[in-house]
Symmetry: D2
Subunit: 270 residues, 4 copies
Amino acid sequence: MLEDLSLEEQKSVVKVGDVAVGGDELTVMAGPCAVESREQLMKAARQVKKSGGQILRGGAFKPRTSPHSFQGLKEQGLKYLAEAREETGLKIVTELLDSTDIELVNQYTDILQIGSRNMQNYGLLKKLGELDTPVMLKRGYAATIKEWLLAAEYVISHGNPNVILCERGIRTFETATRYTMDLNAIALIKEKTNLPVIVDPSHGTGKRSLVGPLAKAGISVGADGVMMEVHPNPEEALCDGQQSLTLDGYDQLMKELSAVAEISNKKLAV
Amino acid sequence: MLEDLSLEEQKSVVKVGDVAVGGDELTVMAGPCAVESREQLMKAARQVKKSGGQILRGGAFKPRTSPHSFQGLKEQGLKYLAEAREETGLKIVTELLDSTDIELVNQYTDILQIGSRNMQNYGLLKKLGELDTPVMLKRGYAATIKEWLLAAEYVISHGNPNVILCERGIRTFETATRYTMDLNAIALIKEKTNLPVIVDPSHGTGKRSLVGPLAKAGISVGADGVMMEVHPNPEEALCDGQQSLTLDGYDQLMKELSAVAEISNKKLAV
Amino acid sequence: MLEDLSLEEQKSVVKVGDVAVGGDELTVMAGPCAVESREQLMKAARQVKKSGGQILRGGAFKPRTSPHSFQGLKEQGLKYLAEAREETGLKIVTELLDSTDIELVNQYTDILQIGSRNMQNYGLLKKLGELDTPVMLKRGYAATIKEWLLAAEYVISHGNPNVILCERGIRTFETATRYTMDLNAIALIKEKTNLPVIVDPSHGTGKRSLVGPLAKAGISVGADGVMMEVHPNPEEALCDGQQSLTLDGYDQLMKELSAVAEISNKKLAV
Amino acid sequence: MLEDLSLEEQKSVVKVGDVAVGGDELTVMAGPCAVESREQLMKAARQVKKSGGQILRGGAFKPRTSPHSFQGLKEQGLKYLAEAREETGLKIVTELLDSTDIELVNQYTDILQIGSRNMQNYGLLKKLGELDTPVMLKRGYAATIKEWLLAAEYVISHGNPNVILCERGIRTFETATRYTMDLNAIALIKEKTNLPVIVDPSHGTGKRSLVGPLAKAGISVGADGVMMEVHPNPEEALCDGQQSLTLDGYDQLMKELSAVAEISNKKLAV
């Protein structure tokens, strides 16, 4: 099935400044779903840093199912992210939605995130191949593992070997959770390729209370890192509040993840 | 479920020059998956015209799962399409893959096709809202009906009311056919909205022998038109040969569709 | 995929008394989801007969998702069905849930229906192989076409060649309709085997307004018959009211189906 | 979604003789897919015992997709299982396929396993409610969590509170693994109910090399135990060889699971 894939020049460790994704340290990416204001972002960023994360997430361009939902702060959001990086020293990961915004987003971010709905936006993937910036490629919510790896191959074969994968749940018949996390996929990809893989239990479950258990499971199955949504006030979030950890919840979970990481031969500096 | 949708300014009939999609005539769009050469395209185009089609399909920019597969003839392909239109009088529908190519593709085509993998490429959808050119929005292969209609709403609410939907099969657990055609969706959309809907049994089944039966079923369930892949020599097609009709097969099928259209109160000029 | 299947001794026409399923007549099976009372059943039966149906459906043993839902009238329900047959001349199809009830149900019914949840109840299938009574095997809602045909093979290879298939929708990610009708499956099975296939748009859509369009589509794609839920008072049905046709709605639809059947070379005596 | 479920009299710890499933000890069930011979079973059983398992699995009645595949040794298989229990002291879990075999299977086994294809065989579930024997109810491969819990409710509300759930993978569009393990489901069920849940990574992945990683993930997410297929010679297994651990592989994995169990506050006596 996957035997005929030859991912050219793939890297097993992707360097994001002094953060190594895919090495012996567990990478933690955390922050709000969307950047909503300077205050909201800074509160989240400080907690992410304090509890042991390395990378701050936050969407400035938001791909929303309805055109009438909040679409993100755009460049202003990117500026807040840069400010948070300046203050905390965290790296930044943020989503790129459209090829016309590459230059703008690339100017601000440390990792370009390609969201689930864009995993097969091949024009965009080819353009990412012309950059050096690390790309985090989320799995399409209905993409097979093979299609996902071939999407990575688009970026890699066009010249950018710095690809990080992110499993964020797939769409199945089950509706009690937002998506179904496919941890089989993480195990299989770690066996067949040497690409770094991050697990995103916030989107993968859609429920705050399940983020912890699935983060632990993702680490146990071999993920190189965890991406989590954290918000100073989830009840008032403009996007995905019900799956966001509170600042305290995040802090508590980080302590628990540390023990799990150790069993999986990963370090987590808390 | 769909009750809260208000598709702004949607049209029940979309005009493509003198072809009306969504009226009392059944619209037939046919042609090869990909434009491969002038000769291949012209042969297909002449047959499409002769057997009673109104719109010629053919991909110049191809979204392929692997970066190592044929990616299309690009602008040269668009030129062949224009040439075929010139000779036959058929209108053209061709896929737009990336927002950076809008101007180029829009220059040549009569309908801009947005493929399944781009249905939630919201940046692209917004830009289409700034044009007048009819847009054929294929359903994402794992998009719910609601998400599909909201994607249409992106185009419509940004100013372009000329949206045609196309059901092309969804991804399910079944592997005996390439996709599972969701004809429930066509019936439901015709009940709840007045958008025109086309059925694409070539992608929806992936098998030449099933194109006819599913085309008939699609018309019976209320589709306003049919899109079919036709190739002068399917065995040597660079893309999707096993689901392409031969020229003779297409001619034969058109005669059969005529009777089915009549029952469904649609005319088909064969 | 399906090439290695050899369905032993399968019949292309299954005789149910003087009704031939799979021949040149379109078979119509209709009636309430569950037998609720003598009055309810008789009203439905008379309409089914009057509008041109041949077979009366009605569940006496109901497989309900919750143990706290109405479980059926059991033997009393079977007796009402027999009474309705006596009066109207319709044949009967009713569901067999458990192998311990075979003798009882077989005593009353003309066709033993095996429901979706029991399609892979292999112990039951083997026992059906020892009878001569026609078996209508509904597709498991998540069974592949191959698994479905192999389930038929269980019955056939154990000695009973009188198997009728029934496509009743599969479970997918789409929630706007109850299930997704897989008409690809009907077309493929009619191509690869000669087993009769019935389409059940009531369960396949879960919505009264979609039963007509999908019944037509099912006939167009090659189904040998249609199964529909009809209830004298759907609003008060103990089971599946929202997908049941009214008596008038059924009568009206039968007239429309007649024209569609003709196009598909099937006769429907209305 | 699940809020309206009231599982009557459910137990958080199910006693299987002196083995407590759902308490502070991690339960390990292991053994061959099918009982093939006395020798095969005894070899597996001795290893299961030696490496720290408590319960021996092995199918005597096998639900096979094709009627032409090996159907199990039936009563002879049950006798071998009893013999293995006698020698090793392990408890036994084996599948019950049909309600006519309840008495026979119940005579031999300590836990009655209801397989995925029978999860909605309601006649069978009701009869299990009349026994005291613990029932391990595998999730239907396309059953929602709610349907699964309601199936458990069938057994419990008919009088048998000794129900153990087993997540064994669901059917999705992904074909690179046999099924997709739904660990979200385990986390959600542990949050909403107090039923014990076992994880079965052998069926859930279909690949020997993924059994270990998914077993660990299952324990991390909160499972009360693990079920694994172990065979003295997987290459020659009559059933599911490619997902069976070797005796050595099993022994090695048990050591690794011990550390993971500890993190999850479960003891595993190796």
